[in-house]
Amino acid sequence: MSAAILIDITRCIGCEECVLACKEENDLGPDRLRPGQQAVDGLSATRFSTILRLPDDHFVRQQCRHCLEPACVSACLVGAMRKTPEGPVIYDSDLCMGCRYCLVACPYGIPRYQWDESAPLVRKCTLCYSRIREGKEPACVEACPEEALLFGERDDLLEEAHRRIAENPGQYVDHVFGETEVGGTSVLYLADISLGFLAWSEHLGERDLPQLSWASLKKVPGVALGMGALMGGIFWVINRRMKLAAMEADVSLAENDSDV
């Protein structure tokens, strides 16, 4: 099973009921900002999801995409980020050492850090993993009064999304955002505008990001062995030649001695 959320931007009215529900579910408390730390998309350590209000009256919900091949999971060196079999990407605060490579790696810039804590943790949406395991919908989906959020199997939601596009071709951009980007995401968007601005690049490729690091990592054993063999070989050759040279010098010295 692969749990997913379909967000239909055209249905969102920006009431932020989902944000409120998310805050209550995760017990996040009021938002606090540091000086000079304006919230870019409103996400923060105390806000796992937000509604971006675009000037042209579009309300775009921002949250973790729960990528199928998550960059944060492959980045985390202690395995604190984990892709669960059910779909959500979750975070184990007991393993985290606070390197923040996940913040660096995320193509959507989602994970947030508790900068004002002396023992800070990474904070992000967990797709209400515990609720999903209980068979419930995520809190935000349940709270949405307009059915702009839909929870279900990723394949079913993709089908539904394409059905909506086919039914109202004029109403939507002919693309389900998240279907193929960076290997596919579990949070899908239907919209009447391009949502490329939500990521670090307008045009995310279909290639997942972990394989880019793996391209270099898979060479590690080869490089280690090769470098070891090369250095060992060079040392052996040079050392032997120097010994031979020393021996020859000894021999010639001896010959000279015997000549005398």
């Binding site: 944000v19 492959s74 390197c99 508790q114 900068w115 800070p120 009064p145 880019l212 490089v223 040079i238």
Partner: protein, 648 residues
Amino acid sequence: MSRRLTILKSVLWTLVGVLAAVSVVRFLHGLGAVTHLSDAAPWGLWIGFDVMSGVALAAGGFVLAGIVYIFGLERYRPFVRAAILTALLGYVAVAVGLLYDLGLPWRIWHPVIHWQVHSVLFEVAACVILYLTVLTLEFLPVVLEHRLFSHRVFKTVLRALKRVSIFLIIAGIILSTLHQSSLGSLFLITPYRLHPLWYSPIIYVQFFVSAVALGLMTVVLESLFSNYFLGHTLHRRELSGLGLAASIVLWAYVALRFGDLVVRGVLPTALDGSWQSWLFIFELGVSAVIPATLMLIKPIRSQIAGVGTAAFLVVGGMVLHRLDVSIVAFARPEGIGYFPSWEEFAVSVGIVAGGILIFLFFVEHLNVFDDVKGHPAPEQPSYDPATLHPLLPKRFALPRMYSLGFLLGAAVALPFLPLGGVEHVPVPVQGPRSVQVIIQDRGENETRHFALATAPGETTRMLMIDGNRDGDLVLFDHDNHAERLNGDASCETCHHLTKPFDTNTSCSECHRDMYDERSVFDHDIHVMRLGEDGGCVECHSDGSTVKSYDTVTECSECHRAEIAGKAFIETPPERWGPAVGYMDAMHTLCVDCHLAEVLARPEQLPESLNRCTTCHDVDWREDVRRMAPKRERPQRVAGDTKSSGSRQ
């Protein structure tokens, strides 16, 4: 000891003092208190300089070890011990820098236990930990030569170490190759964030090749440093040789950078005149092209000044390259910058200062440079601080001076530190505004009702205030409040000087049920009505438990008529408490009716009448709970109860 060395040490101790002061706040109050790091710039100076550049600057250890022990170029042997010591201290500095940068530094050992082999950072961590061990073993013989370790156990260890030394050297080269390149691989996962002039699918090769050149050049700089401060012999011919080697490696690096740009087809980006293109040209020029050219010319590289300048350029330029990759050319949301705080600089500089002090300690007590005979006779400084305090023996003079420097640094830093931790931005308060309103008097209960004046009529001026500091302005009848609160004597109820940061009382401090879901219950009234002190047990009937909301008698026990009959407000059962709050009440009053009206007259009323945004102006705000009704709605009469009154 030479005078310049004394001055250097005093300065270094002062910097370490500043570091100590910053450390206290860093570890007490967290990263936010002392850094300018943010969610938009999660990695800053401590990663870019201390880790990325620190590891690269320590490359001299494996490069020189390879040159001397593998390639047998014996004439470079005088540099090798110092290079390995620099590398060791460099990696210790990296580890210390990481302790500052990690959010949870006490878990720095986690990668040893929790392996995640798909992470580049794991590979870096593993290699750095192993290499730190290898470097310690490589340097240990130098320590064991000291007369303190003359016991035969140490001699046995020393012999064993020397026997395995070639394996240590090769292991060191393998590990260095892996993690010097992997520091570049860290950014393979950020193709959309790192600028194309720096992002490259072969960034790890570029990192490795540049580290080799940088390693050669740090050895040169270190040699000049030792000559200047410690009076060690300069090996001119060897320095020139290192320069030539670095030049060749640097040309390879330039070819890799340019070749990569050409193959990826982004070469035009390097010349498009953006600040990134200028930075790229500047960085590549300073770090590689200019010094590599300089060192190709024999008369220049044979001179100490020539090779020194080139070394300085390479070291500065390569540090810039690491900073570019990890900070400058790394995308952040528009309008959000990152420039390190002074505390970040203080920590980076302080760690380097501490490293140099340890380096000097080793140099003074161990045979780090193979040419001990080069030591000049110690000369007395012209100003001797010991003379000021004849009570203490003279040999305490220098330690006293250094500790003075340390304390001075710490003392100067302390007043500038945010000792209270992170200060949060106060919610901006809108200033009070005077507006024209229509007065609508109602006779019955002597309350007056107002509306913003949009049509001619009997008007007066009234205040609009941001009474709860939540960004929402409401009409505020100041006269009425003063009158009800006992006239002229009432000013202090709201305006007071006893709360330093609070110039007047929030509306919600008196109108307590504004946001509170259960605030219809007024404890004071109940106490009064139930007969002051004796009344407690009426509700808090169980004397054995703590008096709290959880143990109190249900309201419905007394208020049977109102609550048991559910009065006029239906609320969802799970939210059922002692009484419903203001927001639940309002929502039920409006939304149900709106929905019913829409369903009853779908043609005449807009479909969206029952939606949240009909009444609410949802905007960026500190707390979504404070979802106040829309502002500036001229037609609506504030406090008009006609519409909801029909329901009662």
